[in-house]
């Protein structure tokens, strides 16, 4: 091998090694950026409740406001479904948004999975979609109403008025929130319903809404309905718009808004819509 060829060969080898190093560094940097944000552990309480209503064990996490003082203050509470996935994001953004609006923060109560979400969040069995629901929403709501909420009021200074309770859910969680609106309207005054699966069981929630309309229609309530603009799977948009119209036209004391998150799909729109829903809640509560 001549000197010039050897020089070229070793030069190429060096460049290849540098390229591999660069790819490796970029990959490591990418992995480092994938860290999920975690809410301040000093302001987080965790415990479990074994439900006497449905027998399931629920992991509960609570994000406390700064200067938490349950002896002297009462706090509004946001009950978060799919809590194991959403707790940190909701808690962090509640803190930020309440601070931006100079409004006192709330308790964020995360409800973990005691049963499969397709059981706890669906109002009737079946459903017609890819995931068959178990129809456990009634028992789940009774667990929240009779076991979780009293505990929150006794131990953590949660306000006992309906208007200071909010339920937040996405997808089947949004369906469960809509079911809470129709069948447990005395429990919650505020609803953040994100990409709700309103198609479930031939739009069963619409039927519940009609059945309970006379009881619920004069209650004051805040409702945020959000979904992704690109949820074009053929089952989300039409019932979303229909539900919005049904509530807006029949509830004189409702403050309601709907929001389509641009360019985003079912999962991608979840967090941006959580932010929009919390902003709506803190602005109008």
């Amino acid at each position: 091998m001549s000197v010039s060829k050897a020089h070229l060969f070793f030069g190429q080898q060096k460049r290849q090694q540098q390229m591999k190093k660069l790819i490796f560094i970029l990959f490591v940097l990418f992995l480092a950026s994938c860290k999920k944000e975690v809410f301040n552990p000093d302001l987080t309480m965790e415990f479990s409740i074994q439900s006497t209503t449905n027998g399931a064990k629920y992991d509960i996490k609570i994000a406390l406001p700064q200067n938490f003082s349950p002896e002297t203050e009462k706090y509004a509470a946001i009950y978060v479904l799919d809590g194991e996935e959403n707790f940190d994001f909701v808690a962090e953004n509640c803190k930020k948004i309440s601070s931006d609006f100079s409004i006192s923060n709330v308790l964020v109560v995360s409800i973990g999975y005691g049963n499969d979400r397709a059981i706890d969040y669906t109002p009737v069995k079946g459903g017609g979609g890819a995931v068959e629901g178990g129809g456990g929403a009634e028992k789940f709501m009774l667990f929240i109403k009779n076991e979780l909420i009293p505990g929150m009021e006794n131990e953590y200074g949660a306000d006992s008025s309906r208007i200071n309770r909010t339920i937040l859910g996405h997808s089947f969680g949004g369906l469960c929130g809509a079911y809470a609106f129709t069948n447990y309207n005395k429990v919650f005054g505020n609803y953040i319903l994100l990409s709700p699966s309103l198609w479930y069981a031939d739009e069963i929630v619409f039927k519940f809404e009609q059945e309970h309309r006379n009881i619920n229609k004069n209650n004051h309530q805040l409702v945020f309905l959000g979904m992704g603009e690109m949820e074009n799977s053929g089952q989300m948009l039409a019932p979303f718009v229909a539900f919005f119209q049904q509530l807006q036209n029949n509830y004189p004391d409702i403050i309601i808004t709907s929001h389509l998150e641009p360019h985003l799909n079912h999962r991608g729109s979840e967090n941006p819509n959580i932010i929009e829903g919390l902003k709506f809640y803190f602005q109008n509560r």
Binding site: K36, S233, G234, S269
Partner: protein, 201 residues
Amino acid sequence: MKTIVYLSIFFSFLTLSASAQNIDSEIARKSIPVRRITIEPAIGLEPMSDLIISNLVQLNIKKRLSIVSYTSYSYNNAMQRDFSYIKTNYNYTLSQKFGVGTSLYTKHSSHTFSLMSGIRYDAYKETLENPDFEKVSASVSSLSPDLGLLYNLKIGKKKYFFSYRMYIPLYPYPIISSDIWSLNDNLVNLSLEFGLGIRLK
């Protein structure tokens, strides 16, 4: 975690391809299927049962540098147009992207990796036709940027060759949401396409 796995595979593949190219470089130099202009119509699928008809035109400016044009029409949600009293009136996506790519060659195939950008137009309309409730229709039409990585495999040395491509969308991540889980949603739009390539020059 799914996202990390996908991207790990992608980066590993890039690295391996680079290594493989070095090993095969001597063979490739002798007989590489470098084409000046190719046109590659294909059909494909997205995981959410969307059917795609697309066309790719690739112009190799140099051996390792190419310009790519990609046009597609997607018939969305093909398998479930009527569901739970909800009728899909129409649901489609049009996309036009341009990109710059680099190619790696082996004896009978070439791998092209391109960074693509362009626009996409999505339109869909649904009607709730449950006899128990009021009939309600709703529609969305949206123009959005389209950014992604395109991998294109060509197998065959003659005028006609087999073409496979995979498009990994990068928009809206990380532009709208800084949350890593949004990428999962993006990968729902990952498309796999198979077709026939024709060398024009």
